[in-house]
Symmetry: C2
Subunit: 183 residues, 2 copies
């Protein structure tokens, strides 16, 4: 079935804060039906989520998340700066968050979460060949680093603080490329 895309009649900025920008979009579907949707706009080119593997260990961080109001276990991640290549952002975030650079970063998956509301890609990367090269980050406190054996990687899915869907997808994408089974 070929469906003709809805026609965008207007886009209006309806709310803005320091981080978020909400737009109202007036649309007419090909059947004539008119609706109003809302979406989150972003000035950012997207973000990176980087799976660092050093020897037989994954390197994660435990960081405070104000959405859930608790510490969450995560691979290093962060926004891509204006004009920055995703690979460069990935290496910078590693340096800021775990104090290591990588000379071998490759793309595992490029996703969008909730395309009904946002258009901000997340580049899920695999980083190997790590070396010590810290950069100062903008975190309000030192990040706890967590080393996790690769041969127990699937146990991460059972950790209550490994709840973030993008991190779980990154783990599966790693298992996929490493051809390691979760069962």
């Amino acid at each position: 079935m070929m469906t003709l895309k809805p026609e965008i009649l207007s886009v209006t900025s309806v709310a803005r804060s320091r981080l978020f920008h909400i737009e109202q979009v007036d649309l007419r579907f090909s059947n004539g039906k008119e609706v109003q949707f809302e979406r989150l706009q972003s000035d950012s080119a997207g973000s990176v989520l980087v799976v660092p593997v050093e020897g037989d260990e994954l390197v994660l961080i435990r960081e405070y998340a104000v959405g859930t109001e608790r510490y969450e276990l995560s691979f290093p991640k962060g926004s891509i700066d204006a004009g920055e290549e995703p690979q460069v952002a990935a290496c910078r975030e590693l340096q800021e968050e775990i104090g290591m650079a990588s000379s071998n970063i490759r793309l595992l998956r490029r996703i969008i979460v909730s395309p009904a509301y946002v258009n901000r890609p997340i580049w899920i990367m695999l980083a190997t060949d790590l070396s010590v090269a810290p950069l100062p980050g903008d975190e309000p406190e030192e990040l706890e680093q967590v080393r996790w054996p690769v041969n127990r990687m699937w146990e991460l899915l059972e950790q209550e603080d490994f709840i973030d869907g993008c991190n779980q997808l990154a783990l599966y994408a790693l298992g996929h490329v490493m051809k390691v089974l979760p069962y």
Copy 2:
């Protein structure tokens, strides 16, 4: 390492639209550092993403997403109504979006996407034992239904319009529970 949680000094509503509500949170970390974060609040209890399996086929929909401004391939999904159980919401969404009810819905995974900004769980469900039982939905146009053979499920990851990270995670969670390899 045990890190003491930051103290929340104040929570202020800074922007609100029909769908979104942005809060500013003033925090003091245990090291004394004070910061301002922002997060998205929601009145909703969360949402469901349901993988329907009928015989040897997955049932998906193709729906317009205003974030990306294109049609995206997705498993049925939607918000949980106030007071509604996730299982009930899952069955209702199936009835509204693919016209079928399920007498066998089980939880594959409960996730939060971006806990740094939101606290809205997504219940990823598996639905089998389907029967025809349509309910009127609130979609502006009829949804295209897409049948996808289970034995070609991993090809979904190669589809340009299967870009949503939650849907990809749902596929991996299905493969995990079915013990089907992506390679």
